[in-house]
């Protein structure tokens, strides 16, 4: 039983990271019906930028761990949001009127470009985050030993996801994003600047992805330039699992995938954990082709 709960907390933490990245995929898909393959590389960029800023500015030495990491997170999210905006401007906006396949090819190209840029700048070997940033405290809760960092990752992710959900549901800009996702033409005719909505989506998604990259760096302590591939694939899977285009779906899908993966690794076979995760995806899609929370989209006539 103890192992079960250990794996559950671990799965929740990893799953919440998947969920944060999945939000970026699902938001872009919601508005543009495009899979932004370069999203996983913005996640990698977040992890590397976090490392650079951490070591070059020694924020945590000057401000203490709490404020230091907080400021660091804000900076990383800001920079990655800018990179996301630039990506939209350079790789996607010129292709807005083109067939969707062109944009998909552009997305793949942007992904390769970003990944190789990170490799050229930082080198191909894995880099290590300083290990003294966050306390190594282990909490004893309900008879379990849980590292503080794991709880922090889960809490911070949940706060960001709740914030995004409220922003999308409750504010006028959120309403504009939802309106543009449903019918761009009608949204324009209601006075909504759809290009600005798209730009915003390309800043919000990557800023969450960048934060996820930073958390992976802090949680696992190491980064490498191909790390986006694995996480991106899992997050993409999570977005489909929850119903792509659906924001709560990405959150549920991410967390569920993390837990399934952790349980599979613990009880079946560690080597098969990815296979188990994808098997679950396939089974769920057989039963619900639109994902857990996805709606059947009627083809427009």
């Amino acid at each position: 039983m103890e192992q079960f709960f250990q794996q559950l907390t671990n799965g929740l933490a990893v799953g919440s990271i998947y969920a944060l990245i999945a939000l970026g995929y699902t938001m872009v898909y919601g508005v543009l019906k495009l899979i932004n393959f370069a999203h996983s590389d913005l996640f990698t960029l977040g992890a590397y930028l976090g490392l650079t800023l951490l070591t070059s500015m020694s924020l945590t030495d000057r401000l203490g761990p709490v404020w230091g990491v907080l400021i660091l997170a804000v900076m990383v999210m800001g920079f990655v949001a800018l990179a996301g905006a630039l990506l939209d401007r350079v790789a996607y906006r010129p292709l807005r009127e083109s067939p969707r396949l062109s944009a998909v090819v552009s997305a793949l190209g942007a992904s390769i470009f970003l990944q190789n840029t990170v490799m050229l700048i930082y080198g191909a070997r894995l880099l290590v985050y300083p290990s003294n940033i966050l306390p190594k405290t282990v909490l004893h809760l309900f008879g379990l030993d849980i590292p503080l960092v794991r709880i922090l990752v889960l809490c911070v992710s949940l706060i960001m996801m709740t914030g995004l959900y409220l922003f999308i549901q409750k504010t006028r800009i959120g309403t504009a994003i939802r309106a543009a996702a449903i019918d761009q033409g009608a949204a324009r005719l209601m006075g909504i600047d759809v290009n600005r909505v798209i730009l915003l989506v390309f800043m919000l998604g990557p800023s969450l992805g960048g934060a996820a990259g930073l958390m992976v760096g802090l949680y696992y302590g190491q980064v490498n330039f191909t790390m986006g591939w694995g996480y991106g694939l899992k997050a993409f899977t999570a977005a489909i699992l929850g119903g792509i285009g659906n924001i709560p779906g990405a959150m549920v899908g991410g967390i569920l995938l993390g837990v399934i993966e952790a349980m599979g690794a613990a009880y079946l076979s560690f080597a098969w954990k990815d296979a188990i995760a994808f098997l679950v995806l396939i089974l769920i899609l057989i039963v619900r082709p639109t994902g857990l929370l996805g709606e059947r989209v009627a083809e427009k006539v």
Binding site: G174, R178, A179, R188, L189, G191, I192
Partner: protein, 254 residues
């Protein structure tokens, strides 16, 4: 002085001239009807006014300022709102949220104040909700505010489209077949609604096939056939006009 002025407007789609050298004015405070047989180019004129298409020739000006080459959302913020021939509500949003999406362009708070929920932004959101509820009250949908728009009856969806357009605070409301698919009772309500909209000082330009509605609410009617204007005048003049009668009923040799 005319609120909207259309001059020598022409739009070609490949070899087809959908709108051919059409000119007419819409006076401030009036209700103008745009009629014609199917395929006459009425909706194309609406799409040209709202910037969905760019004309090949001609000019469109609103309050003396040209609308050419302005993006659609800018035209809306200048004060032109429209509804659609086929209903295009935001299906999975509530009735209230649909109208709020229309209020969007009259609100100022930016992304940061929305994220951090500054007091000024909260006041603005509340004011927008009040405004949206008033618009729903106006069309008689207030008690449906929390329902999903896709669950409304067809006639009520049409009314919601009008409420959503009113949410943008237009000076000119452009209605594309507002009575399409409505029963007699609903059409009668629509007539009184259009009169009340006009009472608010909003100018109305509408496309409609229901001639009894057009003759009742419009003071000026523009008739298109094959993309060209064939007549313009008061309902009485249009009813007597031989070219209009021929276009609608067909002639012996035509």
């Amino acid at each position: 002085m005319s609120l909207l002025s259309i001059q020598r407007l022409t739009k070609n789609f490949g070899g087809l001239t959908a709108v051919n050298n059409v000119s007419f004015d819409v006076e401030q405070g009036s209700v103008v009807g745009l009629i014609g047989p199917n395929g006459a180019g009425k909706t194309t004129v609406f799409n040209l006014i709202t910037g969905i298409y760019q004309p090949d020739q001609g000019a469109i000006s609103f309050e003396q300022a040209s609308l050419l080459r302005l993006p659609t959302h800018r035209i809306v913020s200048l004060g032109i709102a429209r509804t659609f021939q086929t209903i295009r509500l935001f299906q999975n949003m509530s009735v209230l949220e649909n109208v709020l999406a229309g209020c969007h362009c009259r609100m100022k708070s930016g992304i940061l104040s929305s994220m951090f929920h500054f007091p000024r932004q909260q006041r603005e959101e509340r004011a927008a909700i009040d405004r949206a509820l008033k618009a729903l009250d106006f069309v008689g949908l207030r008690d449906q505010a929390e329902n999903l728009s896709k669950n409304l009856s067809y006639g009520n969806q049409r009314l919601l489209e009008i409420a959503r357009a009113l949410g943008t605070e237009p000076r000119l409301l452009v209605l594309d077949e507002p009575a399409g698919g409505m029963n007699e009772n609903e059409t009668a309500q629509l007539v009184s609604l259009i009169e009340r909209i006009r009472g608010m000082g909003i100018t109305v330009l509408l496309i409609e096939h229901d001639m009894s509605l057009v003759m009742r609410v419009c003071e000026q009617i523009v008739v298109l056939e094959y993309g060209s204007k064939i007549a313009e005048g008061s309902p009485e003049e249009i009813q007597r006009n031989e070219r209009v009668i021929a276009a609608y009923l067909g002639t012996e040799d035509g």
